[in-house]
Amino acid sequence: MDDALSVDLALVESVSRLALFTDLEYSEIQSLLPMVEEVLFHEGQWVVRRGQTDVGLHIIVDGEVSVVLEGDELAALSKGSFFGEISVLLGEPTVADIIARTPLRCLYVSPGDVEQFLLANPRVMYRMLQTEARRLQTTDELRI
């Protein structure tokens, strides 16, 4: 079997288990993959620097990241999570550092392609909105 094809199938399998893509058929995931780039980071590597503006949407396929603000770890994100979308949607710089805690594999959508990516995949956008709603709710609960 063609190596590239087998790698793609493994990726499709991994991606299909992520909450963002759970409503999509395998064929839909395959046709979506050309719109994204697969990016890899080493353990300890900076993925996003606070204040950066051209971040783009990162969707974690494997590994974990730390969300760090002024040396404090605010949260850990892992498989099924995503980051960088707020900066793209608002056109504002990022507010925290993101550091890979382990070897990291992400799907990456560049800032200029995010709008098109989401409009082309409304089920993914809906799932993203659900997660944002859950984040908002949790933040509100913490404020109480």
Partner: protein, 614 residues
């Protein structure tokens, strides 16, 4: 022999040894369902959302295909210790290793007030000393392993979605997939915690994060619930710890929405390893529930008696064919009468003990004794709990009238033998109890009833037992009218006050049972070699009979013997004070676990013996 066959048989034998002993488990629950937690911190039995729902984790019935949920050290050598947080059903599994000490707290919160119950199973790992690396692995197998499921990774955990049930595993610990389940590793230092909340959710649910404060609150509320409940106990005697644990365990087997009590929360744990006597006990037997009630009432827990009476009253109302009797011998916890038995051929059974059965084909058996146990519990409930209401009493009088008409026939008897109907002495005895207790209530409360007719039937039964249940040659009461086989069921004769505990007929029966059915204070139900019961295989000693034996000895005034037998029985409990249905030759727990029957008999014997010892 073909070496490959030999090798595969050896592999199969090795895999069958791979099961944790039944006794190496603790139990947690939320009055809807329970989970069995092994000393290896592996949950290998959990049905969601109710006791009789299909299993999600059923590894105890098939290590490979049953499903499990494990949180345990990632290192090779550690020693497990398990205990309950005192006076609660919060279970703590501790791990001791040269590098550190850590523990997992397991509990299922109980909803307060009118809010809809959330089916949550919370596991909280805590670092105690040194450093400990943990592995968590969750491998659900829905519908006893018959349903496929999808696993989806979210920001705050994982969602498992099957056609009939969805569960979220919510945690801040990063998880990865392994097969169709989830896997992760984490390290705890002293004071660190990691929380995992498994919860029944809608399939569109988005897992959320749990703060440490929220988990602590759920923990504290659960602890408080159990301590408040136990504080109603009036028992202050010797063996308080053991009796309280039995009461807490019985309470775990009550189904809060209806007040029903299950006989045991498991199915098909074998009465003999590799044997076929594997039954589903996740239902409400009138007999077991009535005895449970008796035990709880004896300790002062009246709320359960009242809830169970409500459930029972509903059953009286249902119409049944006249020849079947007014009550079925067992029901679903929701009161349903249809409990179709089915064999799950895809599961190998605990250590190869097949078949695994769900449902219960004995539901249709005729067992006349249940009316006796029923009326005894009504009598006690009326005396110590709430007085019986008019409508329920009128229903009961119809039942007593039915017993008067129907007691004189063969039935399947208390042990649900499948070898044909007999005129069992025990069934007659309990028919006598049914009528006798009804007469007492009627007289004490001045309630209406055909007392003259009842008295006539009661005395007829009495005379018949004394004539036909008594075996002149053996000088003992026997199993049924056409045999000389002994049966431990008759140990109840003095307990239900059918016969004086020092009556010569009784004392010689007790001696005969002691020499034939008792082995080092453990009691067999009957000798199955000479009383074929329609089933293949041997069985262990029956713990309930052993406790009845203790009580019978105590009532006969043989207090030293009774006390020693009781203390010996206590040594057969597991490390947490839990009992299965039976005890095998080497003291191993056999049968469904934990079993209400055993715990209630322990309470009964423990309270009587303590009082008798003064």
């Amino acid at each position: 022999m073909d070496p490959t066959v030999q090798a595969s048989e050896a592999a199969q034998a090795a895999s069958l040894q791979n099961y944790l002993p039944i006794a190496e488990h603790g139990i947690i629950g939320d009055l809807h369902s329970i989970a069995l937690v092994g000393t290896d911190a592996r949950i290998d039995w959990y049905c969601c959302p109710s006791f009789d729902s299909p299993s999600v984790f059923g590894g105890i019935l098939d290590r490979q295909r049953g499903g499990f949920y494990r949180i345990a050290p990632a290192i090779d050598e550690w020693i497990p210790k398990q205990l309950y947080l005192p006076d609660t059903n919060v279970l703590i599994t501790r791990f001791l290793s040269p590098g550190g000490v850590a523990e997992v707290q397991d509990f299922m919160p109980i909803q307060r007030g009118a809010a809809e119950h959330r089916h949550r199973l919370i596991r909280r790992a805590l670092g105690v000393r040194g450093e400990m690396r943990f592995r968590i692995e969750v491998q659900p197998r829905f519908d006893y392993g018959r349903d496929e499921h999808e696993t989806t990774f979210h920001e705050n955990g994982v969602l498992f979605t099957s056609p009939g049930l969805s569960l979220a595993l919510e945690t801040a610990v990063p998880l990865d997939f392994r097969g169709s389940g989830a896997y992760g590793e984490f390290t705890l230092l002293p004071g660190d915690t990691a929380t995992f909340v498994l919860e029944q959710v809608p399939e569109t649910y988005v897992p959320r994060s749990y703060s440490e404060a929220e988990t602590r609150e759920a923990f504290e509320e659960t602890v408080e619930y159990w301590r408040r409940w136990l504080s109603q106990s009036r028992y202050q005697g010797r063996w308080r710890e053991m009796l309280n644990r039995s009461a807490l365990t019985l309470k775990l087997m009550t189904y809060r929405p209806t007040g029903a009590i299950v006989a045991a929360p498991t199915t098909s744990l074998p009465e003999q390893i590799g044997g076929a006597r594997n039954w589903d006990y996740r239902y409400t037997w009138i007999r077991d529930a009535a005895f449970s009630l008796y035990a709880l009432l004896r300790m002062g827990f009246t709320e359960e008696a009242s809830a169970f009476m409500d459930w029972l009253t509903e059953r009286f109302r249902e119409t049944r064919p006249a020849e079947a009797g007014p009550l079925q011998l067992m029901y679903g916890i929701d009161g349903r009468s249809e409990l179709t038995e089915e064999e799950l051929l895809h599961l190998e059974g605990y250590r190869g003990s097949a078949p695994v059965r769900i449902g219960n084909g004995a539901a249709d058996q005729l067992q006349l004794d249940i009316y006796g146990e029923l009326m005894d519990s009504v009598y006690l409930s009326n005396k110590y709990g709430a007085p019986i209401f008019h409508d329920a009493w009128m229903d009961l009088t119809r039942i007593v009238d039915w017993v008067c008409e129907n007691w004189d026939q063969a039935d399947e008897g208390i042990w649900e033998v499948r070898g044909g109907r007999q005129n069992f002495t025990y069934s007659r005895l309990m028919s006598w109890v049914a009528i006798e207790r009804a007469m007492r209530i009627a007289v004490q409360r001045g309630l209406p009833g055909d007392i003259r007719r009842w008295r006539s039937s009661r005395d007829e039964i009495y005379a018949q037992i004394m004539a036909k249940g008594w075996h002149e040659e053996r000088q003992a009461f026997v199993q049924h009218y056409d045999t000389d086989v002994l049966d431990a069921g008759v140990l109840l004769m003095p307990l239900v006050k059918f016969i004086a505990p020092t009556d010569p007929r009784w004392l010689s029966t007790l001696d005969a049972i002691t020499s034939e059915l008792v082995s080092d204070s453990l009691v067999y139900r009957y000798n199955i070699e000479i009383s074929p019961d329609g089933l293949e295989g041997d069985e262990g000693t029956f713990s309930i009979c052993s406790f009845w034996y203790v009580e019978a000895l105590a009532r006969a005034g043989r207090l030293d013997e009774a006390r020693l037998a009781f203390e010996k029985m206590l040594t057969y409990a597991n490390h947490l004070g839990l009992y299965a249905e039976e005890i095998g030759l080497t003291g191993e727990a056999l049968g469904n676990f934990p079993q209400a029957f055993t715990h209630l008999a322990l309470i009964s014997a423990g309270t009587y013996l303590d009082r008798a010892l003064g």
